[in-house]
């Protein structure tokens, strides 16, 4: 019981750190990866909270597919931004 509590505390700190990185970093790519990390840590926390179903869903959907959705859109934006139209690119600096 105490071991689980200790582990939950460490996980909570790691999650908060990842969330802060996602908010403070200058690079959008790093922010997306850090948000995926927040989801991954949260899914381990769900496992500690006796919710294996939720943990599986969060790991597969929250940290897996969502991250790739962001990367697909960032890739699209980068290609569009590279068009010679003088459009400025804020999405992935």
């Amino acid at each position: 019981m105490t071991f689980l509590t200790l582990m939950a505390a460490v996980l909570a700190l790691a999650t908060l750190g990842a969330a802060l990185i996602a908010l403070l970093t200058r690079s959008t790519v790093v922010a997306v990866l850090a948000a995926g990390l927040v989801s991954l840590f949260a899914s381990v926390l769900f496992l500690i909270l006796a919710a294996p179903d939720v943990a599986m869903t969060e790991a597969a959907i929250g940290s897996g597919l969502t991250t790739f959705l962001f990367f697909f859109v960032l890739g699209r934006l980068r290609r569009e931004g590279a068009k010679p139209q003088g459009t400025k690119m804020e999405g992935s600096k």
Partner: protein, 235 residues
């Protein structure tokens, strides 16, 4: 400039106060509340499923799940609609990723069948172990994602995806209506025998319904992923 930074902070401080009041006044339950206790006691007798969460999602709250997959279908349709008019310029087919190497291509060819099999395993066993249609659907979609990464220029048949999706949805509703005719109500799982508790062919229609949900969710996720990734050449 100062108001611009101050307003969000004030709003968040108010919200934080509300959260703190909730947190300070929260007393954890020592016992299950009545609804949860009913589910815990009656799930096995009424549905024959080992996984109580699955029983709630598929049977007790089956109508909500039908609504949820409908919302997901609408999302996939709207994403496809929004992106359909924004085809990428000519000569820039494929995604932003560089063509993948030999390693990823070969690895994909070997891994994708295993991933699809694992996804099917997860949703077939939804009533016995953690997992089910939603997780299995996400795993199937991630197999497809791997194929997209290995070959960015690959085009998936939207017809096949939408056919799987719509036939799964139709069968789901028909099973629900059968429940109304043959058993206690819409989406009642007792249209099939409950079987022996703990075996794979048990829990009535739950495995069948969860397989359909898995196919539907997998198809919807795949359609969202492909329509966000694909940059179909204009015309």
């Amino acid at each position: 400039m100062t108001t611009r930074t101050a307003i969000p902070l004030v709003l968040l401080a108010l919200l934080g106060t509300a959260f703190f009041t909730l947190f300070a006044g929260y007393v954890p339950d020592a016992e299950l509340n009545r609804t949860a206790a009913y589910y815990a006691n009656q799930t096995v007798a009424e549905t024959g499923a080992q996984n109580v969460v699955t029983a709630i999602i598929v049977t007790y709250r089956g109508l909500d799940t039908l609504g949820e997959v409908t919302v997901l279908f609408l999302t996939a349709a709207i994403v496809g609609l929004v992106l359909a008019h924004s085809k990428a310029p000519k000569g820039r087919s494929g995604s932003g990723f560089l063509p993948s190497g030999e390693l990823l291509t070969t690895g994909t060819r070997m891994l994708v069948p295993v991933i699809l099999l694992f996804g099917a395993y997860v949703f077939v066993n939804g009533h016995l172990t953690p997992g089910g249609g939603f997780q299995g659907g996400a795993i199937v979609a991630s197999g497809l994602l791997l194929m997209l990464l290995a070959d960015p220029a690959e085009r998936f048949s939207h017809g096949l995806i939408s056919r799987i999706e719509s036939s799964a949805g139709l069968t789901y509703v028909i099973l629900g209506l059968l429940g109304m005719i043959l058993a206690g109500g819409f989406l009642d799982n007792r249209i099939l025998p409950l079987g022996t508790f703990g075996s794979i062919l048990s829990a009535g229609a739950i495995p069948l319904i969860y397989i359909l949900i898995g196919l539907k969710v997998g198809a919807e996720f795949s359609s969202i992923l492909t329509s966000l990734e694909e940059t179909e050449d204009a015309e």
